[in-house]
């Protein structure tokens, strides 16, 4: 179902939900490199906009309160909990989700490292873990030793407990970067 309130060059990013009410706000942002315009009510959270309106369901909801990290995306290059920010706050922002990591069918080095090190089990926290990894590896203020990595990644809970393999994957990706 198309909604004429949204103008996106990419059919895949057309929202499904046609509902509108009086106080919708128009937001234009860059999502995984593509311009997207959304018209949403103010209380639509970025996470729900991605998942329920733009079919970008790779970003997961685990707690909806910034307490688990499953919803981590990059906002202007930095990791952030997409569950604790409103879609309307991101006019002009550049947002990257897990769907934006691989390029031209080639896995991102972080994705390759997670595959090789079995850095997951159920896979549900994995997008968040990887987005935090990408952000961390680009942030030279964060130390590269294991203790610094574990501290910096502690906002991403893995209930399966695949932490050891995630650490291996992170450090392996760092070495290849």
């Amino acid at each position: 179902m198309m909604d004429d309130s949204v103008h996106s060059p990419d059919d895949a990013l057309q929202p499904r939900d046609a509902s509108r009410s009086s106080n919708t706000v128009t937001v234009s942002l860059t999502l995984n490199g593509e311009p997207v315009t959304l018209e949403v009510e103010p209380n639509v959270v970025l996470l729900d906009a991605l998942r329920e309106r733009l079919d970008l369901t790779g970003t997961k909801k685990g707690c909806d309160h910034g307490q688990c990290g499953a919803c981590t995306v990059l906002i202007d290059g930095h990791s952030a909990n997409s569950c604790l920010t409103l879609a309307v706050m991101h006019e002009g922002c550049e947002i990257t989700t897990v769907e934006g990591l691989a390029r031209d069918g080639q896995l991102h080095p972080v994705q390759e490292a997670f595959l090789e090190h079995d850095a997951y089990q159920c896979g549900y926290c994995t997008a968040g873990q990887m987005m935090s990894t990408v952000s961390m590896l680009n942030d030279k203020r964060i130390g590269s030793d294991d203790a610094s990595v574990k501290e910096a990644m502690s906002g991403n809970i893995c209930r399966c407990g695949a932490y050891k393999n995630i650490l291996s994957a992170v450090q392996s990706a760092r070495a290849k970067a």
Binding site: S21, N23, V25, E41, P42, N43, V45, D64, H65, G66, G69, T72, I75, H78, S79, A80, N81, L84, T85, L86, V88, M89, E91, S132, S135, M136, R141, I142, K150, E151, A152, M153, S154, G155, N156, I157
Partner: protein, 328 residues
């Protein structure tokens, strides 16, 4: 999460004008605490004024040695700022011990100052809470209160202040600058957060429509060292059970000046002048530290589940002081 109207402000004047004196409006910056609470239905703004576009993202070293921090400087950027690392390490450590990388990347300086308690009775609209609904009672007094405050409590509220950053600032000394319908004014950091007393719903000295624009840290104490020690169940991503910000300047083997602030135990970011007095002019020994710790916690009041916080806070003080005075 109920719906609300949304407005985006471009500068401080526009922000305060948009807000007006409207009780039902709130400013939103990072949103990491506000959206959380709106989702919980414990804050129900009818209008949000987005202040993220305001030009309050800079840090400025003032001529008198103070550091002026824009309200929108993120917790991450503040923690890693070269002046903070060099002159206010206790603040950097406090910031980095709080929340998670993702939250710190978004949470702002002013937002952190405005952070509200994590008391589960406050955070559940079905439970009584004098802070959220004056007169409804305090669920924590007779309920589960392991995480609650032992300092600054009243018979109406024992909710603990959750911030780490504020504990660091409390130790360093700072001024909060606000702007609103009545103009601009400065508030000493120590006077900003209020004790619950009979009015736990009043958490700070901020009038309707006023917006924090800056937090200015006092000039660093000459020759002082700082350390923040946070104790909790797990090693990260958890609020403090007890924490201590210690800033100490030595004069030979004696303590010339000390600042002690505590987190996880107070109803506000807790500055302990009692501990500071016990340290001033004394030798930097374990015995001195323990006296300071006793002084800090002398007025503590425990409830059913949180008595352990009193010795734990003392331990945090003693170890933080030992660490900061041992630094070469």
């Amino acid at each position: 999460m109920r719906n609300f109207d949304y407005q985006r402000a471009g500068d401080v004047a526009e922000a305060t004008a948009l807000h007006g004196n409207d009780h039902s409006a709130d400013f939103i910056a990072g949103g990491t605490n506000l959206i959380d609470m709106v989702k919980l239905d414990i804050m129900r703004p009818q209008r949000l004024v987005d202040v993220n576009r305001l030009p309050l993202t800079d840090l400025e070293s003032l001529d008198d040695g103070r550091l002026k921090i824009g309200a929108l400087v993120t917790n991450t950027d503040l923690a890693y700022h070269e002046r903070v690392l060099a002159d206010y390490p206790v603040l950097s450590e406090a910031l980095l011990s709080g929340a998670s990388t993702q939250l710190r990347n978004v949470a702002t300086t002013a937002g952190n100052v405005m952070q509200r308690t994590r008391c589960p009775y406050f955070r559940n609209p079905a439970r009584p809470c004098n802070k959220r609904e004056p007169g409804s009672g305090c669920g924590a007094l007779e309920g589960i209160n392991r995480n609650h405050a032992v300092l600054g409590t009243s018979e109406h509220c024992i909710a603990v202040h959750p911030s780490d950053m504020c504990v660091g600032m409390q130790a360093l000394g700072a001024t909060i600058t606000v702007e609103g319908p009545g103009g601009t004014r400065d508030i000493p950091f120590e006077e900003y957060h209020l004790l619950p007393g009979d009015t736990p719903e009043r958490e700070h000295d901020l009038n309707d429509g006023e917006l924090i624009t800056h937090v200015t840290l006092d000039a660093p104490i000459d020759g002082a060292r700082g350390h923040y020690l946070k104790l909790r169940d797990r090693m990260s991503y958890e609020f403090a059970l007890a924490s201590c910000a210690a800033v100490v300047a030595m004069d030979g083997d004696a303590i010339r000046e000390a600042r002690i602030a505590l987190g996880g135990v107070g109803t506000k970011p807790w500055r302990s002048h009692e501990a500071e007095a016990a340290l001033s002019g004394q030798p930097a020994t374990e015995e001195t530290f323990e006296k300071a710790a006793e002084a800090a916690m002398a007025g503590a009041v425990a409830h059913r589940d949180n008595a352990f916080k009193i010795p734990l806070a003392k331990q945090a003080i003693v170890r933080a002081l030992a660490t900061v005075t041992a630094q070469g």
